[in-house]
Symmetry: C2
Subunit: 351 residues, 2 copies
């Protein structure tokens, strides 16, 4: 799933250049890293990307190994349930009994071996028992920015890993609740990564989201015909935007949980990026040429100019082709406000 626009990574992320296309955490872009880390486990011709029309070309250019036909264009953003449903229609044509792994394009994962092992175990479970498996990340801090999944009773093992039922899905908690979750154990970050067979997810959508299911049937009928693009655009636009969590996961009786113990971040902001990047001896995380004098705990991302820090701490400095952002660490959520000001002033060149 490579939909989002990612204004929070402005000025690098732009309307035409979302977060997952950026090289903000290494030389490869985020989506290239996402594809790289599953390539040992899933063949390139079996990887599909759902994106929007404006990003499709740039995305295809970044992922030369993935067949052009596997890049599915979502006509408009309608949240994750329609996106996953649309993708499932194309996968169904390959093999409805095959496992479908759903991954956001813009997450960072540290331990790729652990990650693939987790997918493999979930795959085994999904084939054995028709189920919707969510990957719950073992929390490492009392994070209030994520939703949580509470573990239920054990449901056996697969690939040597324990699989659990889901006790409950929890909204983003307040700090006190998040601290309790962390202390108590058995609560996981809801990563938005899922494993199921194509047939199972389509069955569950049919049972729990009949309107979406009907729209998917209509779209299914035109795939491969000359009407495909126009009709899907038309039908998709009429679909209600609902997340897969709300539409299916929180209501299905076939939901299971597997623990993810690989290092994980949804890198939702410059602040979150600093947390996961490699740092120098002064805890500066730097991409590009720089000089630092008595400066620590900064994030620097240069796009060409030499960035020199003198006596500054806890600052985010980002240079893009036409902009420079200087932001206090801890305030990067407010970058959205700057983007809103640009929108209000119709400074579209910067958006």
């Amino acid at each position: 799933m490579a939909g989002g626009r990612g204004t929070r990574f402005w000025p690098l992320s732009r309307a035409e250049r979302p977060k997952h296309l950026l090289s903000i955490a290494g030389e490869r872009s985020i989506i290239q890293q996402t594809v790289d880390r599953i390539s040992s486990y899933i063949a390139k011709e079996d990887i599909y990307v759902v994106t929007v029309a404006t990003h499709a070309e740039a995305l295809a250019a970044q992922l030369p190994g993935i067949p052009r036909a596997n890049i599915i264009v979502e006509p408009v953003g309608r949240n994750t349930a329609p996106c996953i449903g649309l993708a499932a229609l194309y996968l169904k044509r390959r093999n409805p009994d095959e496992t479908m792994v759903v991954l956001p394009a813009d997450h960072l994962i540290t331990d790729e071996g652990q990650f693939v092992e987790t997918l493999s175990a979930a795959d085994e479970m999904a084939r054995r028992t028709p189920s919707l498996i969510t990957i719950g990340i073992t929390p490492t801090r009392a994070e209030t920015g994520y939703g949580y999944v509470e573990r239920g009773k054990g449901e056996g093992t697969a690939g040597g890993r324990e699989i659990f039922r889901v006790g409950a899905f929890r909204e983003k908690p307040d700090l006190e609740t998040a601290q309790r979750f962390l202390q108590q154990g058995g609560f996981y970050w809801n990563s938005g990564m899922f494993v199921w067979t194509v047939a199972t997810i389509l069955e569950e959508i049919e049972g729990l989201m009949p309107d979406l299911s009907e729209a998917l049937d209509e779209m299914d009928a035109v795939i491969g015909t000359g009407e495909e693009v126009a009709r899907i655009a038309d039908i998709y636009a009429g679909v209600t935007p609902i997340s897969i969590d709300y539409g299916v996961m929180e209501r299905s009786r076939r939901v299971l949980l597997i623990e993810g113990t690989f290092g994980w971040s949804d890198i939702g902001s410059w602040d979150a990026l600093w947390e996961v990047l490699d740092k120098d001896g002064d805890d500066n995380a730097v991409t590009g040429d720089h000089i630092a004098v008595q400066s620590s705990r900064n994030l620097v991302h240069s796009s060409g100019k030499l960035v020199t820090l003198v006596g500054v701490s806890d600052i985010i400095v980002v240079e893009s082709e036409d902009s420079i952002l200087v932001c206090k660490r801890g305030s990067s959520q407010d970058v959205k406000e700057a983007v809103e000001i640009l929108e209000t002033r119709k400074m579209d060149d910067y958006l």
Copy 2:
């Protein structure tokens, strides 16, 4: 006097582009402003600029009204006494009894009317009584970064202004001393601006700095000949570098003081520049396009890119053609350290 290199305004100031050639405090460069503010009082053809060979072309381009012959090239830097002596040789040819006003090229003055009135009064005194008049700035804070001049007894009036003898020159004081100077009154910042006749300063150099005087005589003999450039380069290189303060002012018995009550700054650093610049409602001093979200007391100088501040206070952000400086306010003296690192690493393109 337009000599210095000004590494403290890096990355805008460069070896080839010293502070006085920069437009850091308005649309006109510092030296253009220096010339502008005396233009109502001194005709352009009577304004001379002493500079170094590498800056002469850029300087001439910025000051089209000043005759090319009035741009005097100092072969090497030898501090202010030789510089002033050299200039006096050229002025002597025009009229040795005329008043000579010595101004550093890189100061900022707020009240130009007051400034010209001060020059005019000093001019009157210098013509009436052979004297070396220093302009002492009435201090507005307990500044430890400047030398001070202590006022002596009154020496009458000129142009309706009181003129004083000088009690003593004081080195840069510690904070306690500076506070006492401010409280006690009668102490002035040593601005490095002087008024005297050409004949008087040459006489005083002759009496107090015989070695320099001898060198000046040798240079005087070749001015206007085919040997002028080569011989002056040769002689000037052998001159001892001494400031006019140390060489003449602190030892002459003909030194007088006039008060300067116009707003004045030698803008010796980015911090000093912030103090004197116009600021918006959040005390941000900004040159170039910018957006500020919850940000205050910053200095921004953009050379083209949009600078966006989010949640930052007391930060200096400067963009040049190839560099971005992000510096804590109060630490701008340490910009020199960054320049030293560039020198050590032989990153000459940035110098």
